[in-house]
């Protein structure tokens, strides 16, 4: 399925991206950050997606915005992953939703894009405390994404 995505701006470094979700609830600024700390492991980055709160200046992922555009948001996140691994081809990206339902959304996004990404990425899902190769139709709690090195 071909999903539309938002136009995305790169932030002040190559690990931050921004876009605006536009729907019935209005404009919501989204921020994606690929976080890295030595404790995570070499080349391991954590993908964080949150809403930018204009009145507090903080990023938050606890708000359910229900802006009716989750497919477009997922496609936008996928685009940033593509862009990020171009800069960091050895990166291992940890993707996890802040709730089980959000993890399921990531799973739906990966499953929908699977035909077009399976040749470019290796994806593992965490299930019953094991990392397993991603398979469509299987539920996972978290995901690891690594670009295939040709």
């Amino acid at each position: 399925m071909e999903w539309e995505r938002y136009d995305i701006e790169e932030g002040r470094d190559d690990r931050t991206f921004e876009f605006c979700s536009y729907g019935p609830k209005g404009l919501i600024r989204k921020v994606i950050r690929f976080q890295h700390r030595p404790e995570l492991g070499a080349n391991v980055y954590n993908l964080s997606l949150g809403d930018y709160e204009e009145h507090t200046g903080l990023i938050d992922d606890s708000i359910v915005s229900n802006n009716g555009d989750y497919t477009k948001i997922l496609k936008s996140v996928a685009w940033t992953v593509d862009k990020f691994v171009n800069s960091y081809p050895r990166a291992i990206i940890l993707i996890r939703g802040s709730t089980a339902s959000r993890s399921r959304l990531y799973q739906m996004g990966i499953a929908s894009a699977w035909p077009e990404i399976k040749d470019r990425y290796e994806i593992w899902g965490r299930r019953a405390n094991k990392w397993l190769s991603f398979e469509k139709g299987v539920n996972y709690e978290e995901f690891l994404v690594v670009k295939k090195i040709s």
Binding site: C20, G26, L40, A42, I149
Partner: protein, 75 residues
């Protein structure tokens, strides 16, 4: 009457749209042409990013990344 507003809060994605009807806030109901992007200051020590990092570390402590994947990423 269309309004051309230079608003920090609007992003390039909305700038590209021809017009936007603002849904809430001071400019609610106004049809505007957003014209300016603003890049957010990202502070790695912000509560949100600290929380996300702690969650990620906890996740990988509970279920470490297999050597096979780590080696593959290292080439």
């Amino acid at each position: 009457m269309k309004n051309f507003l230079s608003l920090k809060k609007f992003h390039k994605s909305s700038r590209k749209a021809k017009t936007i009807i603002v849904k809430s806030g001071l400019f609610k109901g106004m049809e505007i042409y957003p014209v300016r992007r603003c890049t957010l200051p990202i502070n790695e020590n912000s509560p949100f990013l600290v929380k996300k990092m702690e969650e990620a570390i906890r996740c990988l402590q509970e279920c470490p990344i297999p050597e096979e994947i780590l080696k593959r990423a290292q080439g």
